[in-house]
């Protein structure tokens, strides 16, 4: 991982400065986009009042639950598909069909089945996160070099232990990449699901502030969510590098 440098912040700072300048000069009317200073003030106030904390906890509880289900089911299903042709033939067409469906479009259906509470949100997040995890696990498992498996067998590893000692570790870099995609998807689907029906959560905040015309507060939550998402991704990558120092990561 390259050291985080100030230089990387320059384009972002320029963009914010241009935004602020356009607002002050009157080029950008408040009705179109509130000045950055208003948004920043809003964000500071919300952070100070603790308003964001409870909504963050609610949101990340849902996203975390959905993501965890997807991770467990996804890795298991991907492994099974790669190791058992029957499972692959049964599951693959269904996955291919679900793949292009915009997952938020299924939310109303899930609400009919599971109610308008957390269960339907968690279910749709799990479904959306499942696909990248299954696909990455399947591909990662399938691309494990045959000679690596032979190598383990010639060193006394039984057929049953091959999965734990060779297949999973060898597939781990690909699975980890799929999981990274799943994290991003979890946040996207989370916010969509909270738009539709919720009394808590960051998606709910964005939706209700937007509906009330409080554009600066709405944008403050969006920026807050962007920062959280960015940090989450960084933490994930840093954790991976520690865990998989044996692997040469491209990033």
């Amino acid at each position: 991982m390259k050291a985080f440098s100030i230089a990387k912040l320059v384009p972002l700072a320029l963009l914010l400065a241009a935004w602020q300048a356009a607002s002050i000069s009157g080029l950008l009317p408040k009705a179109v986009l509130p000045p950055f200073s208003d948004v920043a003030a809003s964000l500071t106030a919300m952070l100070g009042s603790g308003e964001l904390i409870s909504h963050t906890v609610a949101s990340f509880g849902r996203a975390g639950a959905g993501f965890a289900i997807a991770l467990i089911v996804g890795v298991a299903l991907g492994l099974l598909m790669a190791r058992r042709a029957v499972v692959q033939r049964a599951v693959e067409p269904i996955l291919l069909l679900i793949y292009p469906v915009p997952k938020p479009a299924i939310i109303p259906l899930f609400m009919v089945w599971l109610g308008i509470g957390d269960a339907s949100k968690i279910a749709v997040i799990a479904l959306a996160c499942l696909l990248p995890v299954v696909i990455a696990t399947f591909n990662g498992t399938r691309s494990v070099d045959q000679m690596l498996i032979w190598s383990a067998q010639a060193r006394g590893t039984s057929e049953r232990r091959i999965l734990w000692r060779v297949v999973l570790p060898a597939a781990l870099p690909q699975i980890a990449a799929g999981v990274r995609t799943a994290i991003a998807i979890a946040i996207i689907v989370l916010v969509s699901s909270e738009f539709i029906s919720s009394e808590t959560g960051l998606g709910y905040l964005i939706f209700s502030y937007g509906g009330a015309g409080a554009d600066d507060a709405m944008l403050a939550v969006v920026i807050y969510l962007a920062i959280l998402g960015f940090l989450l991704d960084r933490f994930y990558l840093a954790g991976l590098r520690r865990l998989m120092s044996w692997h040469a990561f491209a990033h």
Binding site: W150, Q153, A154, R155, R161, A170, W246, H247
Partner: protein, 259 residues
């Protein structure tokens, strides 16, 4: 020097059916005695690696039988150690973890395992690299680790599938000397596949020349003289003569395969 270690009888290997069928190996009969160093050389497509994988138990022959010290080969096992050209090592394990892998799988307790690993680290001259991962090592060092990993399991026979094929010429010569030294020390039985005639003569006490389409044994040369180290490639007249004889034989096969 006459106890039979490995016996191959009338081995046939076919892939596919009808017009697309490939006759990979035909009528292979070969007896390998204990402590022999057998090299198998031949053009690509002659089935020399396939033959090695059959001995490894990774593939099953279409017909014929293989037995190791009187027991039929039914699958892979730690009694036959193998070093591949690549992918012998587990990238997620350190040098220490890789060399100790087989011992770990066989339930050798940690303290004893560490002692054996240290011994093999010294044998292949990798002191100071115990905690490195394979990707941090050069190709030559990786193959040293693979060799140590295989030897640490104390196999009855050592199988080597073009182990130095991806290395530069200097590293290859040095590793050939290492393998010869280790073979002398342990007097292991070795079955070594290569496409390099010089390597075949440098290492093999017996050199098996194979022909392609179908893959079969063309001739077997008893080397009959000792090779001390790689410098004899240039200084030993008998070495040069045998190398030339085998090269002409292999060349005829390569030309027959690519007219």
């Amino acid at each position: 020097m006459s106890v039979s270690c490995l016996e191959m009888r009338a081995i046939e290997m076919r892939y596919g059916d009808g017009a697309q069928a490939v006759h990979a190996l035909k009528g292979i009969d070969l007896d390998i005695r204990e402590h022999e160093f057998i090299t198998i050389v031949g053009p690509s497509g002659c089935g020399k690696s396939t033959l090695l994988y059959l001995v490894g138990g990774f593939l099953r022959p279409s017909a014929g039988s293989l037995s190791l010290r009187g027991h039929p080969i039914a699958g892979p096992g730690p009694d036959r150690g193998i070093v591949f050209q690549r992918y012998s090592l587990f990238p997620w394990l350190t040098v220490r973890g890789n060399i100790g892998y087989g011992l770990d799988e066989q339930g050798v307790p940690r303290a004893e395992r560490n002692k054996i690993v240290d011994e093999y680290v010294r044998l292949v001259h990798l002191q100071g690299f115990e905690d490195r991962y394979p990707r941090e090592l050069s190709g030559g060092m990786q193959q040293r680790v693979a060799l140590a990993q295989t030897l640490a399991c104390k196999p009855d026979i050592l199988l080597m599938d073009e182990p130095f094929g991806a290395l530069d010429a200097q590293t290859r010569r040095i590793l050939q000397d290492e393998v010869r030294r280790i073979w002398r020390r342990d007097t292991k039985t070795v079955l070594f596949v290569t496409h390099d005639v010089e390597e075949a003569v440098a290492l093999g006490t017996r050199i098996v020349v194979m022909a392609a389409r179908p893959g079969r044994i063309k001739e077997v040369h008893e080397r009959g003289f000792d090779v001390g180290d790689g410098e004899e490639f240039e200084t030993n007249a008998a070495f040069a003569a045998l190398k030339l004889r085998i090269w002409r034989s292999v060349k005829a096969e390569v030309e027959a395969a690519n007219p």
